[in-house]
């Protein structure tokens, strides 16, 4: 299983803060994005946004990053703290 978490505007647009997936057949973050985008038109539109950032196990990564069972993968908009 993999855990997927969403933050800020993304969490609100998806109306979802967290979900779990089997993760089978998913090799990279890009694969996961494709899988999530297939859920509905809304999800498709949101995951087509190139500004979206991703993290695996609390480290910022790009879409080519490989993923494995037990990972926590996060998607969120560009950060605006400080």
């Amino acid at each position: 299983m993999i855990k997927v978490v969403f933050f800020a505007a993304l969490r609100e647009q998806l109306n979802c803060s967290e979900l779990s997936l089997s993760g089978e057949n998913l090799t990279t973050v890009a694969d996961l994005k494709t899988e999530l985008a297939s859920k509905s038109d809304t999800w498709q539109q949101i995951f087509a946004n190139s500004a979206l950032l991703s993290a695996v196990n609390h480290n910022m990564v790009n879409s080519e990053q490989t993923i494995k069972a037990g990972d926590e993968i996060a998607f969120f908009p560009p950060v605006t703290g400080g």
Binding site: F7, A74, P78, V79, T80, G81
Partner: protein, 154 residues
Amino acid sequence: MIENSTPEISIQTADFSLADEVTLLEQDNAIDGAVVTFTGRVRNKNEGKNVTSLTLEHYPGMTEKSLAKIICTAKERWRLGRVKVIHRVGELFIGDQIVFVGVTSKHRQDAFAANEFIMDYLKVQAPFWKKESTEQGNNWLDAKVSDENKAAKW
């Protein structure tokens, strides 16, 4: 909202005291002649709109890891004594303190540079998001290209 802290990093809903933080940086610290602090506060206007409050969200766990990395990089680049980063989360109002960065070093150049470096990287790497409440409604703030450019200059 999870509250978490290490000696150098604190993510908290509570306010902080600038005077207390300066004391912690200075006490029993005879080797550092320079103390540079930065405090960020909630402004009353943003992009022409009257702001009533800000709500800060973060990614517990990643936030601390990301700030620890930034501090570690700063310590590699400059000769630093003590470092403290505090970031508040939750709902904040006009004039409230949001963020504190305090750095000590033997001489001022290292402390000035490291403080600015930490703030610039916090702005573009630490997973915090601001939602603004204005007279026109609520909206998530967009990241600024100028912040990306500023961090890239280091």
